[in-house]
């Protein structure tokens, strides 16, 4: 039985906290905005909860959890949640990713 989940690291040895402010990349702002809209701000349709965001972040494999940035974890979790809820399908996601990849070439 796994008692301590990987993300549940309170009290474990760690380095100093980085206190500096930093700018966000454009895509990070978009991910934040997406989450705001999906959780039903200003009476928009509520398509997910912050608790589902956390559940799917906590479900990341330990090495992915450690190496991904904050908003990388968010975007993976949001995507997983929308597939679980049937808002998007895996096929739609695959096709869209191919389309975006072509656009970038």
């Amino acid at each position: 039985m796994i008692e301590r989940s990987h993300h549940d690291m309170g009290g474990l040895p760690a380095g100093p906290v980085e206190r500096g402010e930093h700018d966000y990349a454009e895509w990070e702002l978009r991910v934040d905005a997406l989450m705001t809209l999906l959780t039903g701000v200003r009476s928009a349709k509520k398509l997910m909860t912050v608790d589902e965001l956390r559940k799917n972040i906590e479900a990341l494999a330990p090495d992915a959890y450690d190496t991904m940035s904050y908003y990388e974890r968010w975007v993976i979790s949001i995507t997983q949640t929308l597939i679980q809820r049937g808002v998007i399908t895996t096929e739609q996601l695959a096709r869209k990713m191919l389309e975006v990849e072509k656009r970038g070439r």
């Binding site: 796994i2 309170g10 009290g11 909860t49 589902e52 809820r85």
Partner: protein, 96 residues
Amino acid sequence: MDVERKFRPGERVRVMKAYPLGHVRTPYYVRGCTGTIERLCGAFPNPEELAQMRDGLPARPLYRVRFLHRDLWPGYGGDPADVVEVEIFQHWLEAA
């Protein structure tokens, strides 16, 4: 109707020492530990259920619980009066 509150500020409580699957908001390091109710924060839908696409109702009491660090960490070397406060749902608590 919200779930009825069981505890008052100043009462001693023990955190359930359990390790269920799923999304839980009770940190590992306080499970099985004893602390004191500091205040009632209100009643909120159960996040463990909200994480699984259910409504989490009825709302459950959430408390701020105060722990002495020396009760959490074996051999704690700081001030013996140092505390940490953690917000914990009622269903994780029992009278101590």
